[in-house]
Every structure is written in C-alpha cells, then in structure tokens.
C-alpha cells in the first residue's frame, strides 16, 4: 500500500516538477529515432590539412562579399580574402596560409547542384597566422564591436548562416532582455553542438557573456534537449560562472531547435507571425556561433573552421574540427571512409537536409553534418497515394497548420487559398511528410507553392511599378499643362498689375497689401495643382474604363489643343482684371480640393488592378473631365468680360 502511495506521489511530483520548470510545449512535433550515439563515442578530432581549400563566396545569407585577393597572392591564415559588402553580408578569411591558386566557378554544396564563384587556396603547410588582434570588448564602444564583428566572417552556425553582426546590432527600437542559446540540436544524426558543449562549455559561456553584453540582455537561457545529458551537465556547470545564465532542458521533440519553437519552449513567449523575436526582446544564437564570437574577441581568430558531424554509413562516425573549404572527400576519408553500399551524401539532418551534388564539394559555414546515405538508412519512399485526410500531418505540425488543406491548395495551384491558410508560416520542418501514410512529399508541394507565389508577387510588383511610372507620366503631362496656363495667367496679371501700379500707386498705396498674397498664391496653387494631379493619378486605379487606344491618342490631342486654346483665350484677355486671376487661382485650388476628395473616396476601392490599360483609359476620361472644366471656366470668364 505504502509503495503505491509513494509511486503515486512520485508520479505527481514528476509532473509538478515539469510544471515548475516552465517548459512550454508546442503543438505537434515528431520524435524520429535519434542516431546520435554513433557519432558521440569519439572526441572532436582536428582534421589533417587537405591539399586544397575551396571557399565559396556565398556561404551565408545576404550579399556576396567583394574579393580582395588575386590569383597568385600568398595569404596568411585568418587574412581576409573577401570583404563583406552591403548590410547583410559576411567576410571570407583564409583558413590557412598558402597561395590563391584559382578564382572561379566550382561545384558548391547547394540543393541546386549549380556551381558558384569560389576562391581556391593551396595551403603552404605552415598554417601561419596573420597578426591577430584580440578585442578588449569590455572597454570598447559597442558600435566598434559590431563593426569589428562585421569583419569576423562569423555567421549563424546552426545552419541558417545569417551574418552575426546584424543580430547584435542595436536597432534602437527594441531592447533585448533575453538571450536564448539554441543548443537543442533536434535533428537526428547531428551531434556537433552536443560535442562542442561537452568539450568546450567554458568557452561557450565566455561567448555568451560577450553576446549578452552586446545585446544588453538581462538573462540568458540555454535550451538543450533532454537527450544530451552530458552536454546539459557541462553547460549547467559552466553557466554558474555567469550570473543570469541558466540551462533549460527541453523534451526531445523535433523541431524544438526551430528558433520560434525554442523561444516558446524556454521563455513561454509566442512570437507573432509578423514580428521578429527582437521585437519582443528575445534574440537567439546558436551555441557554436557564440563560441566563434568568443574566439574572435579573445584571440582575434576570424571564422576559419567549424565542427562537422560525419555519420551514417561511414566506418568511424565522429565530429571533426574542419577548415572551411575542405573537400568532403578528405572528411569522409578521415572518418574511415564510407561503407560499400553508400549511395550519396546528405548535408544537414535527415529531416531538413539535402543531397550533395558530389563528393568534391567543400565544407562551408553551413555544414553542420554530413550523412553518408544508404538505401537501408533512408529507404526510398513508396509511390505517393492520394491524401485520405487522416490529418496526422495536422497533428504533427509544430505551427498548427492544416497541411492537408495546404497540400490540396498547392496541388491545385490555388495559391491565394494556400496563402489564406498561412502557407508562409510553414517552416518546412518536414513533420507532415514524416507522418504521412500516403507518402506524399508535402514539403516539396509547399516549397513549390511558395516559390510560385513569390514569383507572382515579383511579377505583380514589376507591373505595379510600370503602372506607377505611367501614372507619373500622365501626372507630369497634366502638371506641365497647368504650369503653362499658370504662366500665362501670371504674365497677364503682372502686366495688369504694372499698369495698375503706375496709374494708381499715388492714390491707393494700400492696394499693394492685397497684392502680396495674390503674388504668393500662384506658387501654392501650382503645388496644389501638382498634388491634385498626383492624387488624381492615384485615384485612377479605381476608376472604371472604356477601351480603344485610338480614343487615347484622340483625346490627348484634343486635350492639348484645348489647353492651347484656353491659354490663347486668356492671353487675349490681357485687360482682364486682377479679380479674374484670383478667380482662376481659386478655381485651381477648388479643383485641387475636389480632386483630393475624389481621390480620398476612390482610395477606399481596391487598388490592385493588375491591368495597365484600364488605368490609362481612366486617366483619359479624367483628363476629358478636366478639359470640360477648363472650357466651363473660359466660358464663364468670357461671359464675365461681356458683362
């Protein structure tokens, strides 16, 4: 009886302990077999110097860096080979000393399998460092530190490869209070972060201290999945040295390493879909990135290597410290070679990784794991069956999407619906495909739909731009017309005023006071007219349209002839009094106001008219209307003159 009570209370305590730990859960998720044991039996090994290093310029998210060396140059280890260009960009450094032997296109590790620009370095075997400059970060201005990081070549080493200096830059809008260190490493097979934490926890925490300082964060939470016991123990121990830093062990459930999932897990903050985590005061760094930052500030070492897991069908699966640019072949050889039935190599994990195009690709900043694949390890999926709407995918989706609906819409090219069902919130984690009984390659459908939507959006943007240009042109024509009319009116008024001055200056000097605002008015009226014209052009989008381009040329011609005529009429009326001029200005202002009002009303109507010609047609009818008004004005003036 007692034992039963004890057992029950244990269960209860276990539950409440989990509650007290504040680990939030996310919807769905999957737990594939981990395959992490294989590559964690041996310590991280430094890879022997390969015969050549191939450094792709595109190893990060953002702009391609600018090459600063030439073929034949001798470079030292850590010397910058390419400089970050533009805001989002990262530098490339020489991973060892040697000679630049080629600059040109080489095959790179990318899903497309296409070659890209690379710098090839032949090591001289000395591995001689360039003079290194450690940074006394505690006593340096933060702006300088960020600028310095920009030259470090450090990018997010979890696989996202986003340039690090962008992430620590204060944007002035939001204050980061919590730094989350992503050490979840939720994908099966990958153990590089795990091994790094086991072996270099102290250095990682020193890196955390720097990043925490840079961000001005109060606390730091290291999120580690509960299948990495040794790592979490090492990190907990190391975190004692840093106030405000703590380790939070999260359940092993893929994809807990997704930044938004992890923030939710460890901090209980759900980042809204349209916001960045920094908007809510949270920034996430991968554990290896933090270590790289430490090495850079403490020793001046830029990003020249990383830890790579080599596992799967190799004879000695383990983690290596690998210089960037090392050919995959050398890595596989170091891991005891691949087994006989190896079919190809995968970069990344089995959930989100991709097939490498060749064994000659270099290791890049993004390469966290290389898996030698065999048909036994990753059997080819059976042919896809129709979706039976079992909704297992919906149960597994960590974003709580309805993958079966998204599939249906993507398959039928119903992209608007796919967007409505939040396609762009999909993180492509692959949980849905993983649980699909019909073996439907769901993620591929989503990628397809996303790329189609993005392409369509771009095309629409281009069309919008073209339409805007056209509208601007029409507005300019309108403006020039008004300006011409204005000039004539001014000239007429000036002539009249001069005459009036010479005649009446002695009698009525007060008149000049009323003259002043009138003289200032044309400018305002002109501005108003231009504004009105632009407003009108914008309003055109909503207007309905007649067709025929003939009508267009016709009406444009009549419009210009009418304006000429009206201008001529006005110049004929040289003797027209100041009153008339003011009336004209007032009319122009009135017109501008009316147009603005019309524009404001029209603004409520949908603006995304894709076709250009209705807008042009609408513009013509608008010009016709203006012409009518001008005619009316001339008529009334004529009538006034006759009176």
């Amino acid at each position: 009886m007692n034992s039963i009570i004890q057992f029950a209370s244990k269960l209860f305590q276990g539950q409440s302990a989990a509650d007290a730990d504040d680990v939030y859960r996310f919807h769905g998720g999957v737990h594939p077999s981990e395959h992490k044991q294989e590559s964690t039996t041996l310590p991280i090994t430094k890879l022997a110097m390969p015969e050549k290093l191939v450094l792709p310029l595109r190893q990060h998210v953002g702009y391609i860096p600018k090459i600063k060396v030439q073929v034949g140059d001798h470079v030292l280890k850590g010397q910058m080979l390419a400089e970050a260009e533009g805001t989002v960009s990262a530098a490339i450094h020489a991973p060892t000393s040697g000679t630049i032997s080629a600059i040109g296109e080489e095959v790179i590790p990318h899903p497309s399998g296409l070659p890209d620009m690379c710098i090839t370095l032949t090591p001289d075997g000395k591995d001689a460092w360039a003079p290194l400059q450690p940074v006394d970060w505690r006593n340096t201005d933060k702006k300088e530190l960020v600028a310095s990081l920009r030259a470090s070549g450090i990018v997010g080493l979890g696989g996202a490869t986003f340039p690090t200096h962008i992430k620590v830059r204060a944007d002035g809008k939001s204050q980061v209070h919590t730094l989350v260190i992503n050490a979840a490493e939720c994908e099966p097979f990958i153990t590089c972060d795990d091994m790094l934490m086991r072996e270099r926890a102290d250095e990682i925490v020193k890196g955390i201290e720097i990043v925490k300082f840079l961000l001005g964060a109060d606390q730091c939470i290291v999120g580690i999945e509960d299948n990495k016991r040794e790592a979490s123990i090492a990190m907990t121990e190391a975190c004692k040295a840093l106030p405000g830093a703590s380790v939070k062990v999260v359940p092993t459930l893929y994809p807990s390493g997704d930044a938004r999932r992890l923030i939710h897990l460890v901090a209980g903050i759900e980042i809204p879909h349209d916001k960045r985590s920094t908007d809510l005061g949270v920034q996430v760094f991968n554990v290896a990135t933090v270590l790289a930052i430490y090495r850079y500030f403490a020793f001046g070492e830029p990003a020249v290597n990383r830890i790579v897991t080599v596992t799967g069908s190799v004879n000695k699966p383990q983690n290596f410290e690998v210089l960037f640019g090392t050919p995959l072949q050398s890595l596989i050889t170091a891991a005891g070679g691949s087994k006989a039935n190896t079919s190809h190599f995968i970069m990344g994990g089995p959930m989100m990784g991709f097939d490498l195009p060749s064994i000659n690709v270099p290791i890049t900043k993004a390469a966290n794991c290389i898996i030698a694949a065999t048909p036994d390890l990753f059997p080819a999926a059976p042919p896809a069956m129709p979706c039976i709407r079992c909704a297992r995918c919906a149960d597994a989706c960590p974003v709580n999407l309805q993958p079966q609906e998204l599939y249906w819409f993507s398959k039928s090219d119903n992209f608007e619906k796919a967007r409505d069902y939040k396609l762009f919130d999909c993180i492509e984690c692959g949980c849905c495909s993983y649980v699909c009984p019909s073996n439907i390659p769901l993620v591929q459908y989503y990628r397809y739909a996303k790329s189609e939507i993005i392409a369509a959006d771009k095309a629409k943007e281009a069309a919008d731009l073209a339409r805007e240009r056209n509208e601007f042109r029409l507005a300019r024509i309108e403006r020039e017309k008004l300006e011409r009319a204005q000039k004539h009116a001014e000239r007429a008024a000036a002539g009249k005023a001069e005459a009036a001055k010479t005649e009446e200056s002695a009698k009525e000097p007060v008149k000049t006071d009323t003259e002043k605002p009138a003289a200032a008015a044309p400018d305002d009226a002109k501005k108003a007219a231009i504004a009105a014209a632009i407003e009108r052009a914008k309003a055109l989008k909503a207007a309905a349209a007649a067709d025929s381009s003939q009508q267009k040329t016709e009406s444009t011609e009549t419009a210009s002839s009418t304006s000429n005529k009206s201008a001529k009429n006005e110049s004929d009326k040289d003797e027209q009094a100041k009153k008339d001029k003011q009336a004209l200005i007032a009319a122009a202002i009135e017109r501008a106001k009316a147009q603005k009002l019309a524009a404001a009303q029209a603004g409520a109507a949908p603006k995304n008219v894709d076709n250009v010609s209705p807008a042009v047609q609408a513009a013509i009818s608008e010009i016709d209307a203006i012409r009518e008004k001008a005619k009316q004005a001339v008529k009334t003036k004529d009538a006034d003159a006759q009176d």
């Binding site: 759900e270 809204p272 129709p386 039976i388 709407r389 909704a391 919906a394 919130d425 649980v435 699909c436």
Partner: protein, 340 residues
Amino acid sequence: MNRSPYISDAPSVSIIMLKVLLALVPSIFAYTWVYGGGILVTLTIATITALLSEAALLKIRQRPIRPYLSDLSAVVTAWLLALALPPLAPWWLVVVGTFFAIVIAKQLYGGLGYNPFNPAMVGYAVLLISFPIIMTKWPAPLILAQTKLGFMDQLHFIFSNALPANVKIDAVTSATPLDYLKTQLMLKHEVASITQAPVFGTFGAKGGELVTGAYLLGGLYLLQQRIISWHLPTAFLATLAAMSLAFYTVNPAHFANPLFHLMSGASMLCAFFIITDPISGPTTPRGKLFFAGGVAVITYLIRVYGGYPDGVAFAVLLMNMCVPLIDAHTQPRVFGHSKN
C-alpha cells in the same frame, strides 16, 4: 535536389485499413454467434463485389490497379456495408449496395481520397430507399427464433430466398427493438411496458447488444492504435446520450433511456467505424466534434420522429455535406497568429 525529409514513420494506408478490418473481427464473431453464419456469406459477397467493381473502375479510369486494390479501402467499405445490412439479406441486395458504394459513391468521384460521402452509407441509403421492406426485415437472433436456421439453410436462403420446407418466414424474423419501439409507441404504449418484450435485452436488443459491445471493443482498439482520434466517437456518443437523456427526463414514458440508444441500432458501429472515415469527414479537431455531434442529433431525431427505425446512414450523409463548411469554420489558431 531537396527531397527531405528522408525518413518516415507512418503506417501505410494499407496497414491503417487492415487495422480497421482487424477491429471488426470481434463484432463478426459476435454477429455469427447471435445471427448465425450467414453474415460470413454476406461479407464474402460484399468483398468480392467491392474488389471486382473497384478493379473494373480503376481499369476504366486507367489507374494502376494493384496499389489501389491493395490499399484495402474497398474491403473496409464492403465489410461496413455488409455489417449494416440485415443478416440473411439476399445476395443481389449485397451486390447492388456494394456496387453502388464502390462505383458511384467512390470511383466516380475520383476514387480513394476524393469521395465526399461515406461510400458504405451511400450504398446503405440507396438500398434503404429502394428496398425498404427487405432492409427493415431482420431475422430474429438465434436465441429468440422459433426455428433456428443452420449455416447451409442460411446460405440457401441468401441465394434463393427459400426457407426449408415447413418453416415459415415469421418463424425466423422479428422486429428490431428500435422498430418495435417505434410502432408500439405509435399504438400509445409506454416505453416501460414495451421494453418488456422479448426482443429487448439488458441495454439494447437481445443478442444485438453483444454485437454492439464488440463494436465498442474494436473501436477502443482503433483508439489505442491511434487510427482514429477520440473526438469523433466521444462527441457522437456524448451527444446521443445527452439528447436521449434530455428527452427521457422530460417524458420517460414516451422516450427510451440513453443507454438503450447507445446500445441499439448502429450507434456503436457509427461512433467508431462510420463517422471515423477520414475521407468524408472533417479534419480539424473542433470540426470533428461538431460533425459527430451533428450526426448524433440527426440520428436521434430520425429515430424518434423520422420514418425509419434508425437514422445513422442519413445522418452521416447529411453531415458529410456540411464537412467543407465545418472545416472552413473550425480552423485552429496558427502559431503566432491571434484568434482570427
């Protein structure tokens, strides 16, 4: 090329269907025990008809036959229909019903995954409307029948509609409790006295409640295997119980108690095997609750006020029509989005 994920952990469609068939085995045993071996003949006829018509239609539609036949979905439809039909239904009735279910309700809509209506229930409804007398004439459970037909007699009856000499049809048939209750209530009898009749068992129909219990057992197995989600059976049974409890509380003389409704007719079959068809049902968790609740309400109303003793088939088909609407309006909140 990016073709991740490389790994999968999903039972195939065939395995899912196989488990559904497995879950039906206890009820087939119970059925055989209660009504005799005739059901095995009916199941065989239905299975053969389903496979043949599915194969023929796949051939006509130029679809691969082997993968679609081996997904076993046609067999599931055939078995569910066979179990819903009256025992000893004539062979042609089984053939017509199954043919309709597979050809019209499934293949002509595009085959597996595309049928908006539950094929077995379409087949059932077509038969119920076309042949109402045969469809409501149930044989008495063996324990009640004056003359107990052997397997060969049943087999003979199914194919030739002929009983052994000197056995009259009334000797082997009896009204089902739902039917009996309905007709007796119309004669102004009270529930308490009606349920004294021999066709009533402890909870539902004498003998029949055993089959119902076996459906429940099979359903629990499907739940345990995560083939079906808890939402559908729970919402169906809870709504049916709540409906009947409300009516029963108001007038126990005129309305049967909740337990009777849960254990009679096709309640359990519906809760665990019919509304759990994923293809013709909703996919969102809340949608499943609405759907199952709707089926229960309509079922109860047809039983109490409608022209048929049981209303499961019509209730399911009516709710099938609402599935797109239900799904559209029960979309769960996506992570990072506010509630609409």
